[in-house]
Subunit: 330 residues, 4 copies
């Protein structure tokens, strides 16, 4: 019997919620950003990337979010539509907000950083009124990005969406996706992400991200097993702790754990996008009813493809491409 | 067997958390406030009043809160100390905040209103760092006032306090205590109060207050039984729905319900303070191990005494006075 | 020839602009505020007091300001109306603002202090749209209080009012009236008050207040003569530097200076209100065409009356009372 | 005799003050921005461009401003230094601010627009403490950009700088440079720009910009002559009203006016940068002691060169290039 049951009578497979932004990736790489002069524009933001990955894999996806009322906002909505993603719940914010920007700097394949400009961003203007009970109950799963909890009114919109998802048996995926920008304090990160983690079916995060969730409530133990047990005692069926290049471990409600495979790097351009492509392919696998280690392998292969490319969203592979990549290592 | 178990090895009986303010009660009553010229000053705020009531009844009480760094803040701390309440977690806020003020207007015994001045108030400056795990685990019970959820950083301090209370088996009382001031939207009221209600052992609120909690998540049913079942399905053992002058109904985890008695009004001056004095005496009864209907009677008698007085906090009765009042009706 | 010419064809003598608030004066005096229990309510705020003083002296006065949409705001508007002041430009603010409060503490006749609560106050919500060119050009003089410059949008409303006053030859009185509350920084005080001082016909302030105006632009000289010359080089005809109990010195455009008389204190209750009653009577004298030293004597006598009373606004004397007081010292 | 006298004993010719930002110019032009994918980065912002123009023309220039503490801020400071501009008063803001961004869209040579992202920008964090009396009194002239008045604390820094400039006979140029972003209201634009215009020696602005300055104080007359007279009655010696493609008219204190020449367009890429290159060359001319119409011709020629290029700052010509351009039209 599967750990997670997806309601099969739903017209939509997957809803992403939260950050829709623009990546401005340096064209002249292997140098500091001060010395780059041109940038290429891509749709970005972790939940956007994951939703694009899932659509690219052939599932029916939609998105709940807000975009700015300008050329950048229109570019994002247009791009999602082109990828076959339903944008009926992607709202154009009229408050004068802007699109969040991520300038990426690639000093070397392993020395990458991001400069985020996230003041007054449209994605955090998401309101409870934007979250439709009808829209959510028509889906099998929803993905919450922790960044959407950084500020009101987006924070409240997330709580409403998760409560409605639980009410209608929509599987809740939670990607902690911690970004220091826009949060007021680390205690807020821990407190609000914990409240969502308690109500989530599957939680994905790095070791340091899980530490943030535990920090307000007592001394840190930095122990994956104890972390998993903490959340499995609530609603979670799977807790996946990521350890960067060392792969990830999935802990399941039935007491098992699965260490994920790693695909040795070939022609790595940068590390951005590895997490989002992993998540997209992993969730795809779960929705196919695959067992955990096959999901992990599929995720790792997808990540291995994306890090060879200049972009994240544009580089998301199809299921065939992922399978070929896996086969090429055998 | 009792519905609620209080850990007996704790040095402190009860902690109030949240609003500490000043009531400025019109001396010239039975007229609009525009025509009153003098006011008398009292300590006020629902959790302050309840804590004072409990201390007056002989229990060992403490408080977690912030007061302004001025004459009003010092008056409050001094008053609590005089009432025997531990103020080691009452912090003087240094940010330039002020004491919340409640000007009361008594047009007639049944036509009373409050004008609250709550911009930049000290009580909402409570921070997560002010909430000590040590302090909480030394208590049998803690009372959360919904007003403390109205704004950050007090909101996060409440989430931390409740999580620590659950971790250490401190009984969580939650008084919804909805005040329209300082909240950003009704959706925020519903969302954050619901998150605390899910984690509370005893919830007290009026019919309209419970409606606020249900409003963001679907159509309202306005049904006390369904409301009670909603929260009893989480951690609650007792849900007490107040219906103003018509008394209250307590619903318990074991499926019972208890309609509270009313003491016919004698010499009523105003309606303020009825709820807080009820709550204080009701909680006192529970901590004595009394059954629900005795707690309700004790609460109603206390309320009946306080409405005959000009103040709230100053008028809280002793256990003997309450018992005498009950006896006088027999 | 008079230093200042008032246009005689104007239906209104005087307009006050700015702060309308409430004083809550401790009834139990000669003790710290922590130990007082009752307060009496009066209309307060420096420009309100001055305007009331002028109306009490028999001139036709009006006011430009905003009051809160509650019992306190209505009390203020009603009180002004009763005093014969035109309130057609006193606007009820609908933004949820409150009335500024001043709790006065009288430890001894010479040890008085004020605790101001000025967060989100209605008076600072005054907007440029509230300032009517028609209203201003119908007056002989306007009084600007520096406190009205503390925050936008009131700050811009002041600049508009002063520009319109100059355009229509309405005499501009400027009372620096520095209150540390609500200002963001001392540099803002100096910069904005200087901009208004440059455009004013008569400037009133204490030595420390004038220092604030000079501080951003070079080392302080703390020299009354140099201070006066600075402003007389702009539009000012009279610069009046107040030295508390030591009286005041008036410097005039024609190079003269006048040291004001002091009335020895008799039965002083508190020092509050001395400045406002002085200003009201001084301006009254100027509008009668009196010479400077008679204006100063009239002002000092008025102040000497007000400090013998519990209130400011309620205690403003008539012209006959002031004259009797002066005569009583002869 | 010259209208304007520059103090000759100053080590620095010119100080720019205010906006330092980044232009991201679409590489694929003649299409909407939604369809462009790559952008080239340049230093931008009107006062930055003018200062760069002046340095390129061989004068000794400096700048007073704030840049963000990130790669974009460092790029700007480095670029100014490379152009020979003194950056000792260019401060790295540590408050978490960002660099203002201007995405330029070139649909056709005459249909250009700018999308500005200006939330929490470093340039508006300029503080009064950043403005050094020593730095200002060492210069012959200072250029104030109206955009620097859009918000505190930059607004107050401007008032301080202008007051110090007047005190030390530093010629004040004021470019209204109205940008709708970051201003709270049009009344604020008019009020604060008017206060600076009153204290400026030379004022540059478009017809609509001058209208903004007049709007708060009475009905608009939209008459260049009356506009000029309004400001010439204060400190201004030259008021230059720009009429876009129709050229500009300079009105002088001595009652004359000069209609500027236009250079017929050749190979225009876009219209951006025309105003800033004009201003830089015009000011250069004035500092050479040229008569007004020669300054205007020099400015127009510089603008005519810059509109043929993809950038603003990078394209600023030398004095020889401008002269050659003028000669080529003869």
């Amino acid at each position: 019997m599967s750990l997670i049951t997806f309601e099969q009578d739903r017209p939509m497979d997957f809803i992403g919620l939260g950050r829709l932004c623009i990546d401005l990736n340096a064209n002249e790489i292997h140098r500091p950003m001060e010395e780059t002069r041109t940038f290429t524009k891509y749709v970005g933001g972790s939940p956007a990337n994951i939703t694009i990955a899932i659509a690219q894999l052939g599932l029916k996806a939609g998105f709940i979010g807000r975009v700015s009322d300008d050329q950048h906002g229109r570019f994002i909505t247009h791009y999602l539509t082109e990828k076959g993603i339903d944008t009926s719940s992607v709202i154009t914010d009229k408050s004068g907000s802007v699109t969040g920007l991520a300038f990426t700097e690639i000093k070397s394949p392993t020395d990458c950083s991001i400069l985020m400009y996230r003041d007054n961003v449209a994605d955090l203007k998401l309101e409870t009124g934007d979250v439709s009970e009808e829209y959510i109950r028509n889906a099998k799963a929803i993905m919450i990005s922790g960044t959407a909890l950084a500020k009101s009114p987006s924070r409240e919109a997330v709580f409403k969406a998760v409560e409605l998802a639980r009410k209608h048996k929509v599987v809740v995926f939670f990607d902690i996706d911690y970004r220091p920008w826009t949060w007021t304090s680390k205690d807020e990160v821990g407190i609000y992400c914990s409240l969502i983690a308690e109500k989530s079916d599957v939680i994905l995060g790095g070791r340091e991200e899980f530490d943030l969730l535990e920090a307000p409530f007592g001394p840190l133990e930095k122990d994956d097993r104890k972390t998993a047990d903490r959340w499995l005692a609530h609603q979670a069926k799977i807790v996946l702790v990521k350890h960067g290049g060392d792969g990830s471990i999935a802990f399941t409600k039935d007491g098992q754990s699965f260490k994920g495979k790693i695909f040795p790097a070939r022609n790595v351009v940068k590390t951005f996008g590895a997490g989002d492509s992993f998540a997209g392919a992993f969730i795809y696998g779960m929705m196919q009813g695959w067992n955990i280690d096959r999901c992990q392998e599929f995720g790792a292969a997808s990540a291995s493809i994306v890090v060879q490319s200049h972009s994240c969203s544009d580089a998301m592979p199809t299921a065939e491409q992922i399978q070929e990549h896996i086969d090429s290592y055998k």
